[in-house]
Amino acid sequence: MKKFEYLEHTADVKIKAYGNNLEETFTNVALGMFNHLTDIEKVKPVIKHELNIKAKRVKSLLYDFLEDLLILLDTDGFILNKIEKISIKEEGEEFILHAICYGDSYKNYDVNGNIKSITYNDMEITDKEIIVVVDV
């Protein structure tokens, strides 16, 4: 099954991700975002980062999840290869995400382009499909 694809967008990058459940679809949209920078299949899973995110809406949860990964890119040069043990739970009025992300430093790969920010523009979320535009 296709994990993600890029849709037409004049100025930025529009990612459509697929999955069997919300966790898998969240994972694939993150992989699609990093794949804009380099071929993530070639990235070795040698550095581990744990993410814990809380948000009031599922759209905000996705925004913050992708943004935390961007911060790892800017601060540590982290490029994602895979996500393991991801869980998304609804507790009271909050959504809680926990994930363990594996990847490597950008220095070891041919990395192109940039990602400035996540946007809410045209964002769509269902369990099996997510669309998000990232400002590059």
Binding site: T10, A11, S60, L70, D110, N114, K116
Partner: protein
């Protein structure tokens, strides 16, 4: 929508329904065709409906679809009854342009262009993850955010003119580093003096044509074939994070407002609230980071030129912000009002005599610096009284994309590089894919954008420059 042509370079969408003001579009028949193909006209209408907006929701000649505001959008909101919105500024706060002149000519520089590009490429880190050699402690980063270009000067880089020949003297006094999150600071810590990627560039340019000799001379542009340098970059990850942090805070603190807007990216803080003040202080800090960034790069460029050419003069012309909000005074219906003036992908274009201009440009008006895309011409214009009256002292900021990054995959970077070299334009890039994505074909016709600005009188032509050497992220 009721779209009406006023003249060859101005259109209007009449005020109707819940619009508070009309939409004013500086455009030509050719450029209007582009606008009709995307959502930018609707985005300008969305802006016209916001509370406290004055006169008109304006669109510059290079307008195209953005998030919240269109790119090329300009709007003024009352400082007490209006608002401030990150969607009217953009993710890259104070993305802008700095121009430097040299006393060298094309004949002197072209034989050494490849060597020069190698030297500058090493001095000015570019591309994803590029790290500065300047390591900032927490206290130093706060000082950069507070003092902008002045911090750079105080720490032994650059000249007094580098700092003073810039909008706001490279420093907005309202900046408050305590309003910038740790996340944003962590993204900015290693990036001072780096170019970044995407459409940002450092170009060695040749003066191609001078339209107004007297004004060009005041700007330091003396003759055809003179070499000048253009630096185009912004506030890097720090600025992007400030925008993002406050978009999120605004929607969290005011969920009903966020839900009621046609686009969430248009969420705002009502003027007079603590949130509005906090955002303005944080945005000013990010803007200061961008001015410090371009001041460091200007210093590295000057040192690089000295390394290759020995005794050479590299002098600043000016530095402009393309994505910013400022507290400005404008005449509205004959009365002076203080406003949050938003320019998102627009250049300030202040006229002769404006109190905010440095002494050097009080007689001429402000230098307006408009970069083209990689491998195409860039322009130097001058600010006008007409801009003050018609577009809140603003004009265009660039070419604007016409083709998606995906669509540029049809081009091979090697072919583009070769094509450019045949035209005597040399490119040095951190990434091959970056060259393909930013190829000249992917951008709109900047010549038409400039023509509209000039004919509408909101930014008058002074000189045209073309690239000789390009460094891309």
């Amino acid at each position: 929508m009721k779209l009406k042509k006023i003249n060859d370079h101005e259109y209007e969408i009449e005020k109707e329904g819940d619009m508070n003001v009309p939409v004013k579009i500086f455009s030509s028949e050719k450029l209007m065709e582009n606008l009709k193909g995307d959502k930018s006209l609707q985005q300008a209408i969305n802006v016209s409906k916001l509370p406290g907006i004055y006169k008109a929701s304006c669109m510059c000649p290079d307008a195209h679809q953005g998030y919240g505001f269109s790119i090329g959008g300009v709007a003024a909101f009352d400082i007490k009854k209006g608002l401030i919105t990150p969607g009217g500024i953009g993710f890259d706060i104070n993305c802008g342009v700095r121009l430097l002149t040299t006393n060298l000519t094309k004949e002197q520089v072209e034989p050494k262009i490849k060597e020069l590009l190698e030297v500058l490429f090493k001095r000015v880190p570019s591309g994803v993850g590029s790290e500065s050699k300047i390591r900032l402690t927490d206290a130093q980063l706060d000082s950069v955010l507070k003092n902008g270009g002045q911090w750079v000067l105080d720490n032994g880089y650059g000249t007094k003119d580098d700092v003073e020949l810039a909008e706001e003297n490279s420093r907005m006094p309202e900046a408050d580093p305590s309003k910038v999150s740790q996340k944003a600071k962590s993204r900015g810590r290693k990036q001072l003096g780096t170019l970044g990627a995407g459409n940002h560039f450092l170009e060695i340019q040749i003066v191609d044509e001078i339209f107004d000799e007297a004004i060009a001379k005041e700007f330091g542009i003396i003759k055809k074939d003179q070499i000048v340098i253009m630096i185009h970059c912004g506030s890097r990850g720090l600025g992007h994070q400030v925008c993002s942090d406050y978009l999120r805070r605004m929607e969290e603190e005011n969920p009903e407002l966020a839900d009621s807007l046609p686009e969430r990216d248009l969420v705002y803080a009502p003027a007079g609230t603590e949130l509005a003040e906090d955002y303005f202080k944080a945005m000013s800090a990010a803007a200061n980071y961008a001015w410090a960034n371009r001041t460091v790069i200007a210093h590295e460029v000057r040192e690089g030129f000295k390394q290759v050419f020995g005794d050479v003069e590299v002098l600043p012309v000016y530095d402009v912000a393309h994505n910013i909000a400022k507290k400005e005074k404008h005449i509205i219906d004959g009365e002076e009002k203080e406003v949050y003036l938003h320019r998102k992908g627009a250049t300030r274009s202040f006229p002769p005599g404006h109190p905010d201009l440095p002494e050097k440009y009080k007689k001429t008006g402000q230098p307006v610096l408009i970069p083209g895309s990689m491998g195409t011409s860039s322009y130097i214009l001058v600010g006008t009284q007409k801009a003050m009256e018609e577009s809140f002292g603003s004009t265009a900021h660039g070419a604007g994309r016409a083709m998606s990054r995906h669509a540029t995959r049809q081009f091979r970077a090697e072919d583009i590089k070769k094509e450019l070299e045949e035209k005597h334009i040399y490119v040095k890039s951190a990434s091959w894919k970056g060259i393909a994505e930013e190829c000249p074909q992917a951008y709109k016709d900047i010549d038409e954008v400039i023509k509209v600005s000039h004919e509408a009188g909101i930014g008058k032509l002074v000189a045209k420059v073309r690239p000789l050497g390009v460094i891309k992220g």
